[in-house]
Structures are given as structure tokens and as C-alpha cells.
């Protein structure tokens, strides 16, 4: 069965069930209610928060608004400037998923949360904290636990360190794994959709280099202010026998308007660093032909604020030897222009080799 655009609950997909929109006034808490964690099993939260508090704020999730002392734990792994650090806490009263260090500074994070009761609830949280202009203060990955095994999660309350902690422009989006079966569902065989599927991630650009190479490609015709969120995945095969590097530019902006904070592992060394650049680096793909690197970036694209991205990279892969594994937070210090194109480029001619894959997905809000 062929279909055009679809606006429905699609079984076995991940769909948006809550979207705050960009907030038009400040908020102290955001309550996402009407949930059924035991049926849904898993939630995915994307948060782009504009801090509303002078001096900054952490941001928290309380399932069922539970703030019982000593019921939340976490293990952090972070990079701040040149320092890589780890901490463990076992005595928290909420799940800390983001942080911004001053009023109007940003934080960009995601949380994958396994919510079904019966066991301790667990979450993986990637975050770029304290973003202002071309400064990304900290990038990190946190593992979380909520030591409450019996209650069905029916709400998630998001809050910060004080009244008005969510400033205008903040946006919170929650997705869940959709279960749509039984008598109330239209059961059909194959459904081949040629249009837009609302509330899902859908690929809007794909380029597989089968026998060609390129120095760069431009993904054009984008509407960043309508699209809001992109997820870019790359698997780049080095088309040259030269050490090569892949990077992104929004609207081909080549000015020193990008900031980053990284955290990486290389053999037995852990490094962190912060800086500015003329692009968003997607990593080294090795020194020899057919070595490769892969990346995944979550990008908040809508104008009005500094644009933010979270990136995971695996670099310089050759056989069973890998180079660096890296987590990065990025900013593009342009608040005004709608993103209409993303340039994926290399620093070497024809470095994007045969076998490369570039995929851009949009979250259809």
C-alpha cells in the first residue's frame, strides 16, 4: 500500500508525544503527564534549554515528581577545557540531565530512559552544557539510575534550580516507542510512504558514493526554522592516501564562528579540549585510502539562538584498529540566519571516497 503524508500513531516506530514548542514565556517546571511507562517501556528526551537564572541552573527529571532523597544515582564522564573527569553519586533526589552556567546561556542534551517498572530505571544522557557564543563549557555522557522499581511512570516533571529556570526559547521534546496494535489499529501489510510521517525521524537526504569521490557535498534546500532538529550520520571512506579530515559548515559559513568542547579516548589516553574553529569537525578518517570514520550528530537548527550540536565520532578505522572515540558539543554562533544548507567537506581533494555514506534525518514536528 502506498501513502502520501501520514499523521497517525504508527506501531513500532519512535514518535513525538510531547513538544513544548519554543517557550514564549519563562517556566519553573514542565510536567509531561498522561504517560504509561510500563506500556511505553522507553522514552527519548531532547532538550534545548535557555537558562532563565542568573548564575546558572542544573536541570532535572523527576519521574512521577518523585524527589525522595537518596533514590537517584549517576556516573559522569565529562570534558571541561583540558580536563577529563569522572564522578559518581549515589545520593541524589532527582535525575540531573543538563546544566547552563548563566542566564541566557544554553544547554543541549538528550536522555534515553528505560522506564518500565520491575527493576531500577536506567538512562543514558549526552549533554553539551554552558553554551554561549562560541564557548561550549562542558561535554559529557552520564549514566543514571532511579532506584524505584515498582511504580508505573505516569509523568515526568522537568525542573531547575529556581523559578523561571526555563527561559523563553527553551524547548523540550519527548518521544516514545509506539505500540499501536489490537482492535483499535488499522492492520495492514507493507506500507510504502512517499510523503511526510508526522512526529517521526525521517531521512530527507542520503548520498551513498558507490564509485565516485568528492571533496565536498552540499545538502541544500533545507528549512532549518521549520525543521528544527536534524540528525546527521556519516560514514566516510578515505578516497586518498593522505591524512584527511571531515567537517561541516552551516550555510557555508567559513568564519571562526564555531565553538567546541571535546572528550576523547585514544589508545590509553583520555583528553579533553575546547576551542573555536571555522567549521564543525567530524573527525579524521585515517591516513590511507579506504580507512574510514563514522559520526552521528544531533543538531538544533532553528534560528533565534546560537545553534547547538552533540556529536559522537569514531575515527581512523582500519580493520580491527580504531583511532579516536570522541564526544563533542558544538555551537554555531549565528542566531539570525535560517539554516538552508549544510556543507560536508574534507580538507583533501576527493577525500570523500567511494563507499561513503551521508544521511540527514529530520524530526517531523
Amino acid at each position: 500500500m502506498l501513502a502520501g503524508d501520514i499523521d497517525a500513531k504508527i506501531n513500532s516506530t519512535m514518535q513525538v508525544i510531547y513538544d513544548s514548542g519554543e517557550m514564549t514565556s519563562t517556566a519553573s517546571t514542565v510536567s509531561i503527564t498522561g504517560l504509561n511507562g510500563d506500556a511505553d517501556q522507553e522514552y527519548y528526551l531532547i532538550a534545548r534549554i535557555v537558562c532563565g537564572l542568573a548564575g546558572g541552573s542544573s536541570y532535572y527529571i523527576r519521574p512521577n515528581n518523585s524527589s525522595t532523597t537518596d533514590t537517584y544515582g549517576r556516573q559522569t564522564l565529562t570534558g571541561t577545557l583540558g580536563t577529563a573527569a569522572a564522578t559518581r553519586s549515589t545520593d541524589k533526589e532527582e535525575l540531573n540531565f543538563a546544566y547552563a552556567d548563566d542566564i541566557n546561556h544554553l544547554t543541549f542534551s538528550d536522555v534515553t530512559f528505560y522506564v518500565k517498572s520491575g527493576y531500577v530505571r536506567t538512562a543514558i544522557n549526552n549533554r553539551a552544557d554552558g553554551i554561549d557564543g562560541t564557548t561550549v563549557t562542558t561535554v559529557g555522557i552520564y549514566g543514571h539510575s532511579w532506584n524505584e522499581t515498582s511504580a508505573n511512570i505516569t509523568s515526568l516533571v522537568l525542573l531547575g534550580d529556581g523559578a523561571g529556570c526555563f527561559n523563553t526559547g527553551s524547548r523540550l521534546i519527548l518521544l516514545k516507542k509506539v505500540l499501536a496494535t489490537g482492535n483499535m489499529a488499522l492492520s495492514i501489510g507493507e506500507l510504502d510512504v512517499r510523503g511526510v510521517v508526522k512526529n517521526t525521524w525521517q531521512e530527507i537526504y542520503r548520498n551513498e558514493f558507490t564509485s565516485t569521490t568528492a571533496t565536498s557535498i552540499t545538502i541544500s534546500g533545507l528549512k532549518g526554522n521549520t525543521d528544527v532538529l536534524y540528525r546527521l550520520r556519516t560514514r566516510i571512506v578515505n578516497g586518498t592516501n593522505t591524512a584527511s579530515y571531515i567537517f561541516l559548515k552551516m550555510n557555508a559559513d567559513g568564519g571562526t564562528n564555531y565553538g567546541y568542547q571535546y572528550l576523547l579516548g585514544y589508545i590509553t589516553t583520555v583528553l579533553a579540549g575546547r576551542g573555536t574553529d571555522t567549521n564543525m569537525g567530524m573527525g579524521c578518517i585515517g591516513v590511507l585510502k579506504n580507512e574510514l570514520g563514522s559520526s552521528e550528530s544531533l543538531i538544533y537548527a532553528k534560528s533565534g539562538y546560537v545553534r547547538t550540536a552533540l556529536t559522537k565520532r569514531s575515527e581512523s578505522v582500519s580493520g580491527t584498529t580504531l583511532g579516536q572515540t570522541i564526544l563533542l558539543g558544538f555551537s554555531w554562533n549565528n542566531t539570525a540566519d535560517e539554516i538552508t544548507s549544510i556543507l560536508v567537506s574534507s580538507d583533501q581533494v576527493n577525500c570523500i571516497g567511494s563507499g561513503s555514506i551521508i544521511s540527514l534525518e529530520r524530526l517531523n514536528l
Binding site: 577529563a84 489499529a185 507493507e190 525521524w201 579516548g265 583520555v270
Partner: protein, 181 residues
């Protein structure tokens, strides 16, 4: 098309579709096989697992495309354990998905895999591990590779060397990107 609920057997929309789900209720396993895959058509997979360690000791949970048991996998990870950060590079007999050290503790892994043949297959995986009560034993991010360029992936075996390690309460899902015709 505007509707209520749609239950399609094969939803093709250039988007992610859950093609496998296993909730281990009152059962354990040392391995499970997700078969009938077409890696060269699907091109990308996302595997998630919340594992309850069913083994009385340390268990690492990995993924073997086509059940390749050879030392054909490479990795570079970084981790935080308590106040210590560290990194390791090496080779392995699987793509690591998650791990736990103690019977009954939890680990929650998320892996994205470039599956199409022609080149070394690569994945990026994250997990917190050894979770019990309010203690999270460690947080990891891995870059990994499967050094097989030619074979189409037709199965993924989620396995552990620790007998019965995939304990009751475990949950494994596989998502594939399904492209419209």
C-alpha cells in the same frame, strides 16, 4: 492521510522501524539470534538492550554479525568509573553492547551500526553499567569495528560468554532503517 493507529507489518518511510523485540520474562539466555536480516538493504541498525545480569559474576554482552566468533572486531573506548577516566584500544570477538559485574545488576546499551557490506562495518555504542539501586558502576562510549567487508549481515547474535547472563527482566530491541520503494 490522517488516522488513529496504524499497525503495518513493514513500514517503509525512510525512517526507523522496530523489527525485533524480546522481553525476557522468567527466562534467561546465553545468546539470542536475530535472523532474517538484510543488512545491505537496511544499511543501518540501532540495537538497544537493558540487560539484567543473570550470571553470578562478570558478564560482557556483545553482538556478533552472522555469528562471527573470530577475533575480527576492534574497539576504542573511553570510560568513567567513580573518579577515574580511562581509555583502552584493542581487539575482541564481538561488538561490545554492555556489561555488568554482579548477578542481578543492570546495564543499558545503545548501539548504532553501519551494516552495509563493502567496507569494514563500524558502530558507536554507549552504556552505563553495573547498575544497582543508586549506584552506576561506570559510563562508557565505544567506537567499534567488524573487520568483514564482504558478507551481507543476515543475523545479529546478542551473546555473552557467561552462561545465562541475559537474565530475566532483560529487554532487547532492534531497529532498522526502512526505505520506501
Amino acid at each position: 492521510m490522517k488516522g488513529g493507529n496504524i499497525n503495518s507489518s513493514n513500514f517503509k518511510a525512510d525512517s526507523w522501524f522496530k523489527i525485533y523485540e524480546n522481553n525476557f520474562v522468567s527466562t534467561t539466555a546465553t545468546s539470542i539470534t536475530i535472523s532474517g536480516l538484510k543488512g545491505d538493504t537496511d544499511k543501518e541498525y540501532m540495537l538497544e538492550a537493558r540487560i539484567v545480569n543473570g550470571y553470578n559474576g562478570a558478564a560482557t554482552f556483545g553482538v556478533r554479525p552472522n555469528n562471527d566468533t573470530g577475533t575480527n572486531y576492534g574497539y576504542q573506548f573511553l570510560k568513567g568509573v567513580n573518579a577515574t577516566v580511562s581509555a583502552v584500544r584493542g581487539t575482541a570477538t564481538n561488538l561490545v553492547l554492555c556489561a555488568s559485574d554482579t548477578l542481578g545488576t543492570l546495564s543499558f546499551g545503545n548501539m548504532v551500526l553501519f551494516a552495509k557490506s563493502g567496507y569494514v562495518r563500524t558502530s558507536i555504542c554507549q552504556y552505563p553499567y553495573e547498575i544497582a539501586l543508586t549506584s552506576v558502576g561506570g559510563t562508557y562510549i565505544w567506537g567499534e569495528s567488524w573487520n568483514n567487508t564482504s558478507d551481507e549481515i543476515t543475523s545479529l547474535v546478542v551473546q555473552t560468554a557467561s552462561t545465562g547472563g541475559i537474565g530475566s527482566g532483560s529487554y532487547i530491541t532492534l531497529w532498522a532503517k526502512r526505505f520506501h520503494g
